[in-house]
Assembly symmetry: C2
Homo-oligomer: 418 residues x 2
Amino acid sequence: MNIENYIDQIAKNAKSASRVIASASTVTKNAALNNIADGIISSAATLITENEKDLMAAQKAGLSGAILDRLRLTEGRIKGMAEGVRQIVNLADPVGELIQGNTRPNGLQIQKIRVPIGVVVIIYESRPNVTADAAALCLKAGNAVILRGGKESIHSNIAIYRILTSALEKAGLDKRCIQLVEVIEREAIDYLLKADQYVDVVIPRGGEALIRTVVEKSTIPVIKHYKGVCHTYVDEFANLKMAEEICLNAKVQRPATCNAMETMLVHEKIAPILLPGIAKKLQDAGVEIRGCNQTCSILDNIKQATEDDYYNEYLDLILNVKVVHTIDDAITHITKYGSNHSDAIVTDNFNNAMKFTREVDSAAVYVNASTRFTDGYEFGMGAEIGISTDKLHARGPMGLEELTSYKFVVFGNGQLRK
Amino acid sequence: MNIENYIDQIAKNAKSASRVIASASTVTKNAALNNIADGIISSAATLITENEKDLMAAQKAGLSGAILDRLRLTEGRIKGMAEGVRQIVNLADPVGELIQGNTRPNGLQIQKIRVPIGVVVIIYESRPNVTADAAALCLKAGNAVILRGGKESIHSNIAIYRILTSALEKAGLDKRCIQLVEVIEREAIDYLLKADQYVDVVIPRGGEALIRTVVEKSTIPVIKHYKGVCHTYVDEFANLKMAEEICLNAKVQRPATCNAMETMLVHEKIAPILLPGIAKKLQDAGVEIRGCNQTCSILDNIKQATEDDYYNEYLDLILNVKVVHTIDDAITHITKYGSNHSDAIVTDNFNNAMKFTREVDSAAVYVNASTRFTDGYEFGMGAEIGISTDKLHARGPMGLEELTSYKFVVFGNGQLRK
C-alpha cells in the first residue's frame, strides 16, 4: 500500500470517528474502558508472546538494556496496564462542563462549554504500555486518537491495538476512534504531521531529537516538553536536614524521569556545611557528582562540571553541583540552563520563597518539596498523557481536561448586531 | 545591518524585557497605557503626516481602494485608537489570578496561578491601528511583544511605535517590552518564526495565504484563524420574520468581517415562502445572490453557485444560498465547507436547536442570533487580539485571558516522593 494514501485514510477515518466519540455518553465510554482492561487481562498470554517477538528482534539488533527493559511486558506490567485503564474509568468525564456563562445586556446567553479537541496524534517510543494509556485517556476525553509507537514495539502494539478495537466494538463505538499506524516506515510520520485538515493536535513523547523533528515538520499544533533539566536551590536559610532529604529524593528516587533533579545549586554560605554530608549520601546511593570550582574545593574526588553538563538531562545517577553567591545567581542559572520544567527552592525565608516562585519561569515551582511531584496523580489531576513545558494550552501535567477544548454556544431570541 | 542578527537581537531583548513586564504592577501597566492614549492624541498631527507618506506610496504602487482605506488614519480613527487603549485600562488585570488550588493528602499545597505567556509576536497587514491595539493588549497581559506590520504602513507604524516606547519609559518600564520590526524585508519574518528559543507564541492576522505561510514556517506555536466561512441555517421550524432579520444582519451589517455570513442554508419546506422576500431585501442592500439549483428555480435572475463558491470567504456583498432537505444536510454542509468559525440556526424547535449546537463543531454556535456577535466585546471579554478557529489554547475571541498561561506553584514542608 502507498504510505501517503494509508495515512490519509487513517486521518480521514479519525476525523469521521471523532464525531461519534465526541457525543458518546460517559456510560458508553466507561464500558469501552472496562472492556479494554478486561481484554488486557484475558489476553496476557498473547501479549507476552507477541512482546517476545519484539524483544528477540531488539536483542538481535543489539539494542541497549535500557531499551529492552522499556520494551518488556511482564505479567506485573500487564496487570499495571489494565489497572491504569480502570483508574481512568473513575475519573470525572470532562466533556460538557459549563466552564463559564453569562447573559449579555442584549439578552444573549453566552455559554463556554468544554468539548473534546477532536483528533489527537500521539507519537511515542518503545513503551508498549503507552499504547493502552494514551488511547484510554483520549477515549475518555472524547477524542479520536491515532497512535504511532516505536518500531521496536510493533508486535506488542498491534496485539494491544486488537484489544482496544474489540473493546470499542463491544461497547458499540466506532472502532476507528482508536487507530494504530501499523507501517513502521518513518515517512508515515511525515505525512501524519501534515494532515492538518484532519488532525487537531500532535503530542510527541520521547527524546529531545524526536520532539524537535516533530516540531520542525508539523503544520499541526504540537504540545511537548523537550527535556527536564530540573534544579533544586538550597538557600542560605534552608533547613539543612530537609534540604538533604529533598535533594536526595529528587535525584535518586527515580533518576530516569523528567522531573528528577539534574543540578543542585547551593548558597555559598552553607555550602561548606551542607556539601560533605549530602555528597556522601548521594555517592552512597551511586550518584556521580560533577562540581563547579568551589564545589571541587570543598569535596574531594569529584569530577569538574563542564558548561555543557549544566544543559544536560542525565536521566541517570549523575548530578551537577554548583555553589552560587545569591538567590539571584541561582535564578539566573535556572533561567539560562533550565528547561522550564520543575525547579525547587529549599528555604525557611518567606521573601526568598516568594521571590523564587515569582521569578522562576517553570511549569512547576516548588518551595520545600521534591521536584519529583510534577505528575498528574500527585497534583490531583488523575492520569496524565504527558507533561508540557510549553506555555500554550497546557503547562505542566496534562490530564483529561488538557485533552479538551471549548466552544461558545450562544442562545438568542432574534438579536441583531448594531 | 544583517537582518538575521537584527531579529535575533530583537528576540533576545523581548525575552529579557518579558521578565520585567511579567512582574509589573497593574498600576504601572495602566499608567503606561494611559501614556499611550495621551501620546496618540497629542501626536495626531505627526501621525497624519507620517500616514500620508504611506498613502502616497500606496497610491503610487497602485494598491486597491480597500487597502488604502485600511491604511488611512483620520482624526476620527486616531481618537478611536486612543479610546481603544483607554478601554484596556479598565479591563481587569488577568495576571496573578489563582485559577485553582488544592491541598494534597501529603500536605502539599498546589496552586495554579495565571501568568503572562512571555513573548508574543504579532504579524499583521496594513492596519496601523493594530500596532497600538495589539501592543496595549499584550502590555496589559504582562507580555513582551514584537510587532511586524505590513510594509505599506511602515511610516505610520514607526510613528505609533515612537509613542509606545516613550509611554513605556515615562511609566518606568523597559521600552523593549514593545518592539517593532522596522526592516520591511520578508526574510525578517522567516527569522522571527524560528526564534523559538525566545518567542512563546505567534499570532498572525491577515489573509489566509499569509497565515498558511506562517504556519508552514514557524517552529513556534501559532494561534490563528484561516478564514471565516460562516453559515446561517434557516430551519423548517424557524420564525420567518426573525430569520429574515438575522440573515440580513449577518450578511450586510458589516460584510468585510470574518463573522459575516457567507452562505445561507434554507430548509426545503420553507424555501419557497422565505426566499423571494429575503432575496428582495438582500438585493436591495446590494447583495449578489449565488444559488443552488433549487434556489435558482425559486428565484429569478440570480447566478448559479459553484462548488468553489461554498468554500469562499467573500468578505463582500455576495451570498451563497442553498436549499437543504434536512437539518442533517445543513450540518453536513457546514462540516464540509465551513471554517469552524461562527454558525447559526434559526429555529423554534428545541431539539433541532440543541442538535445544532452539539453537532456543529465551530468556535461559536448560535441559536436565533446573528453570527456577527462573535467578538470579544460582544461576548463580555473586552477587547480582542483576534479570533481563533484552532482548538488549542484559545478558541473564538481571544482577549486578555487568552494572552496568558499558568504555572503551578507548590508549597511544601519537606515532602518526598515515595
